[in-house]
């Protein structure tokens, strides 16, 4: 759910980068949810041409995804009649992180940085366009450019930093409203928001290319049959058809873009590793990094709760492979795993370990809030806040002041301040 401030920030970003008109279109989509072209024209009071151009820009830069709902009565009015456009808020915000994404790639494959930069600047590019760009930049006239680009591209695809663009206009099966009214209860506005979240998930899920295709530039031209079966296979949402008017051309043009999900995953891992390093020690952070590296290609979602389970031997091997981990013994690795709070499943020789990443993120989040409380309200408030955070339930004022060694007169005042600023929950049992 996007907050008011979120919308404001998104619109600000769009205005800065693409101007007022595009920002206006984006704003109406963010405020009102998915809309058809006609509705956008109506709400923004722009000309249809302006709206169309804006949408094209937004789609090009992955900030909007088009989709259509399956016609109930089976009659097909024509795709344009019910095409809707959905703003992708997360992708809009990712634009602020582009320099971080570039940094990640430049630290891993510096030679690929140019290529990624192009993709971030232009939103989406075909292989041909990438080669053109390289040619212009390097001013080399020979055919070497194509090889270089292909080589770099393959590296980025293998690391999953680049992916194929989603389908232009997936068709969603069955009207969304029936399902959600049955499932959800509650205020209308929250229902609407939850609906649109479900819509977003469904649209993105429907639009995403299949895993096998997603990170490959191999095209399956000329075999419509095979394409249909491969697409029809493992879809959660039935009745997904290929876009009729889309890229079913003689030559399938492969459009590629940066895979924000993978970058976010890397950043999340990095944050976890850093948190572990400061909270525990270097050894634990080396082990964690090794474990996350080992299963890099296996993580399905950005916000996985637990890392993929690995055996002790695999972990040890991976630790040995890393530069900093070379000097670690098996015992040390085992001790670090325990430090990390690793739960090992299955006893005996077949032990496998997985890290609770969600817990690390939670601890990091707690650290942030406690840091704010310390700086804003002082050490006493910090101690009291930590006590309540640790206990996780209501504690009497007297007990709080006793446990934290805060003067009995001071404690109620500070607690009241924290409560009035929204940091604490208070209940009064005096009768």
């Amino acid at each position: 759910m996007v907050t008011q401030y979120g919308i404001k920030l998104g619109v600000h970003l769009m205005t800065n980068q693409f101007g007022n008109i595009v920002a206006k279109v984006c704003e109406s989509l963010l405020r009102r949810g998915p809309l058809t072209l006609q509705l956008i024209v109506r709400f923004t009071e722009l000309t249809p041409q302006q709206v169309k151009s804006s949408l094209l820009i937004l789609i090009q830069h992955n900030c909007v995804q088009a989709f259509s709902l399956e016609q109930q009565d089976g009659l097909e009015d024509g795709p344009k009649a019910n095409t809707q456009y959905l703003a992708l808020f997360n992708n809009i915000l990712h634009r602020m992180r582009f320099s971080k994404f570039l940094k990640i790639v430049s630290s891993e494959f510096d030679e690929c940085k140019e290529l990624l930069e192009g993709l971030l600047q232009h939103g989406r590019l075909t292989l041909k366009q990438m080669v053109e760009r390289e040619r212009e930049k390097s001013s080399k006239k020979d055919g070497n450019c194509e090889d270089i680009v292909q080589e770099n591209l393959l590296k980025l695809l293998a690391a999953r930093y680049v992916e194929r663009c989603p389908i232009h206009e997936p068709v969603l099966a069955t009207p969304v409203k029936d399902e959600t009214t049955a499932k959800r209860r509650g205020a209308k506005s929250s229902k609407r928001n939850e609906e649109s979240e479900t819509i977003e998930q469904r649209v993105l899920g429907a639009a995403a290319p299949m895993d096998a295709q997603r990170f490959s530039i191999i095209t399956n031209t000329g075999s419509n049959v095979s394409r249909e079966t491969s697409v029809g296979e493992k879809r959660k949402y039935d009745a997904l058809e290929l876009d009729r008017e889309s890229a079913v051309e003689e030559e399938e043009v492969v459009l590629l873009r940066a895979n924000f999900e993978e970058f976010m995953c890397r950043l999340r891992h990095k944050a976890c590793i850093e948190n572990v390093r400061t909270r525990l020690d270097d050894g634990a952070s080396i082990v964690l990094r090794a474990m996350l590296e080992a299963v890099r290609s296996l993580e399905k979602r950005v916000k996985t709760e637990k890392s993929v389970p690995l055996s002790l031997n695999t972990i040890f091997e991976e630790v040995m492979n890393s530069e900093e981990g070379r000097g670690m013994t098996l015992d040390r690795v085992r001790a670090s795993l325990v430090q990390l709070g690793c739960s090992s499943s299955a006893r005996g020789t077949d032990e496998s370990y997985s890290i609770d990443l969600k817990k690390i993120v939670e601890l990091a989040q707690n650290d942030e809030v406690e840091s704010i409380v310390l700086k804003r309200y002082g050490r006493n408030a910090y101690k009291m806040f930590r006590l309540l955070s640790k206990t996780g339930c209501l504690v009497e004022t007297e007990k709080i002041s006793d446990t934290t060694f805060v003067e009995k007169k001071e404690a109620p005042k500070m607690l009241f301040k924290l409560w009035s600023d929204g940091y604490l929950h208070m209940e009064d049992f005096s009768s």
Binding site: T278, A335, E368
Partner: protein, 239 residues
């Protein structure tokens, strides 16, 4: 009352050596009775006056006399330091009145607590990992203090250190540093302060002025309080 008990009070004025209350006036006796009945909670002068219905000056005079006779003592009530609170001599004031072990004269003995805490941190730092018993033992043997601490008191001190993020509480797993400690025992280690000596890691939000600003809910780009006019923000951007 004194009028009714005129003749008998005359009798009572004769001192009886074996009775502690022998030399008391009638008023003093009444007051003493009331104070004693409150046992270790004691009583405030105003409450005394209300209960005994004695006039002000009588109460004041009698209290002075009782104190001189060492039958009652004045204590500081930590909840209301301004009030005069009295308790019978034979009782020790309760925790509600004194505030507990760590209070002296109605105030938190911060100096003592800090000193004791520093000592505990030093012990834990030297031993790398320490249990509660270990800390208590070391304190006893060091003879740095002339008071005897109970395990509960040390636990309170140590818990406060955990809340202060000076030390962390961990459970022994019997391996590595914990090999001399039974599995599952609670022990304490010094926190790793981000690798830098004594510099705690500041969170990202706390390191920018807006993260800890008390006026954040009033700040808007076109308001009286705004980022453009904010002194702290300007200063922070000037690096």
């Amino acid at each position: 009352m004194s009028r009714l008990q005129g003749p008998s009070s005359h009798k009572r004025k004769q001192p009886e050596p074996n009775s502690a209350s022998g030399s008391l006036t009638e008023h003093e006796r009444i007051l003493y009775h009331v104070i004693k009945s409150k046992q270790n909670m004691g009583i405030w002068t105003r409450d005394m006056k209300w209960e005994t219905k004695l006039p002000d000056y009588v109460v004041v005079k009698s209290l002075k006399s009782l104190q001189a006779k060492k039958l009652i003592k004045e204590v500081v009530n930590v909840q209301n330091k301004g009030r005069k609170h009295y308790i019978a001599a034979e009782f020790e004031p309760s925790k509600e009145i004194t505030g507990g072990t760590w209070y002296a004269g109605g105030n938190l003995d911060t100096e003592f607590i800090n000193f004791l805490q520093k000592h505990c941190v030093k012990i834990i730092y030297e031993q790398k990992v320490a249990t509660l018993e270990g800390i208590l033992d070391t304190i006893r043997r060091s003879r740095a203090f002339n008071v005897e601490f109970t395990p509960q008191q040390i636990e309170e001190i140590v818990n406060a250190l955990v809340l202060d993020n000076e030390i962390t509480e961990v459970e022994s797993n019997g391996m590595g540093e914990f090999d001399s400690i039974p599995v599952g025992t609670v022990c304490y280690m010094c926190t790793n302060k981000g690798g830098r000596k004594g510099e705690p890691k500041i969170g990202a939000m706390a390191s920018i002025p807006c993260g800890v600003c008390p006026q954040i809910s009033l700040c808007t780009p076109d308001g009286i309080i705004s980022p453009q006019t904010c002194v702290h923000f300007t200063k922070w951007l000037d690096f």
